[in-house]
């Protein structure tokens, strides 16, 4: 494993821990988006650009949108 890959893995581990430890829902959404971004970097570093692109579009667009809408609806109630 080259150092770059180790660094990318470290970021993913830190991101996952941050997602698990956050309690506020809005913060959780932003953190999980950032976590998806660290995964994108990991996939890119491990030479899987196709998977990286898929993770990018799902993690940065699809998932946060559904969560944000759910939070807004819950707060409006």
């Amino acid at each position: 494993m080259i150092p770059l890959q180790a660094v990318a893995m470290g970021f993913v581990a830190a991101g996952a821990l941050a997602v698990v430890l956050s309690r506020d829902l809005v913060r959780l959404t932003m953190l999980s988006s950032l976590y998806a971004l660290t995964l994108v970097v990991l996939f890119l570093v491990f030479q899987a650009p196709d998977v990286a692109l898929s993770e990018l579009v799902v993690g940065a667009v699809g998932f946060p949108l559904a969560i944000v809408v759910a939070i807004v609806l819950e707060r409006g109630r």
Binding site: M1, F46, D50, L53, S54, G62, L65, V69
Partner: protein, 243 residues
């Protein structure tokens, strides 16, 4: 169970899980030493056999095209399910809120949305050549529409995404995929067997039916995600009449 007992139980099981995972990870082949035979064969065969330079696209839209058709149907059904569930509870007399943002935000948003749309088209079009393809590009295209809502307002978003057009795009994408498969059956080959002119590897029109299926998937994924966005955003932008 007391707090101390729970922490003790967690510590024991976490240590066990960590040991198992470390043991499993230590037996993995090192990076770059893939042991399965199929990846090597496909990497070797696809560029000359299908004239594409992105082998992932060749696998997705050709060698395992039927699996991809199944996935398209899953996405189609999931988007339809969301639409059915959310539309049912909606009141047609409800009022549409438009929170109009400042001119600067609108201008920047429109610029970004246009750029994002072109990027999405490029990612779809280059599917057989470079990483990316119908699925990824389709979501990028859909997010360009979502950006119009975020930076602009709900009314502009709906004007750009009329329900009829979205339904048409969604049905056309899936329909083309299915029909291409039937055509290859009529030609006397297996379902979704590549029959198109293969073209020159490394150009936009290469890969025969891979190109067609890639674009059809882009259309279907874009429409499915726009439909999902519309249903979710409608929940935000529409105030329901009090019951």
């Amino acid at each position: 169970m007391t707090r101390q007992a729970r922490i003790g139980l967690f510590a024991v099981s976490a240590a066990g899980l960590a040991a198992l995972m470390l043991w499993g990870a230590s037996g993995l082949p090192s990076f770059g030493h893939y042991r399965g035979p199929y990846g090597q064969i496909v990497n070797h065969v696809a560029p000359s056999e299908r004239h594409v330079t992105n082998v992932v696209t060749a696998v997705v839209f050709d060698y395992r095209g039927v699996d991809t058709l199944g996935e398209e149907f899953i996405l189609f059904a999931a988007a339809m399910g969301v639409a059915l569930l959310l539309r049912e509870v909606r009141d047609p007399r409800a009022r549409r809120n438009d929170r109009v943002s400042s001119d600067a935000v609108r201008l920047a948003g429109v610029g970004f949305a246009a750029g994002l749309f072109v990027l999405g088209l490029s990612v779809v079009a280059h599917g057989p050549i470079t990483p990316g393809g119908g699925f990824q590009g389709g979501v990028v295209l859909a997010s360009a529409f979502a950006l119009v809502y975020l930076a602009g307002d709900y009314r502009s978003y709906r004007k750009l995404t009329p329900s009829f057009g979205i339904d048409l795009a969604k049905g056309t994408g899936l329909g083309v995929f299915t029909v291409v498969g039937i055509v290859s059956l009529l030609l006397g080959t297996a379902y979704l067997h590549n029959f198109g002119p293969l073209g020159t590897a490394g150009t936009l029109a290469s890969g025969g039916t891979i190109s067609i299926l890639n674009i059809a998937t882009g259309l279907e994924v874009m429409a499915a995600f726009v439909l999902l966005f519309t249903e979710f955003l409608e929940e935000l932008a529409v105030t329901r009449a009090p019951r």
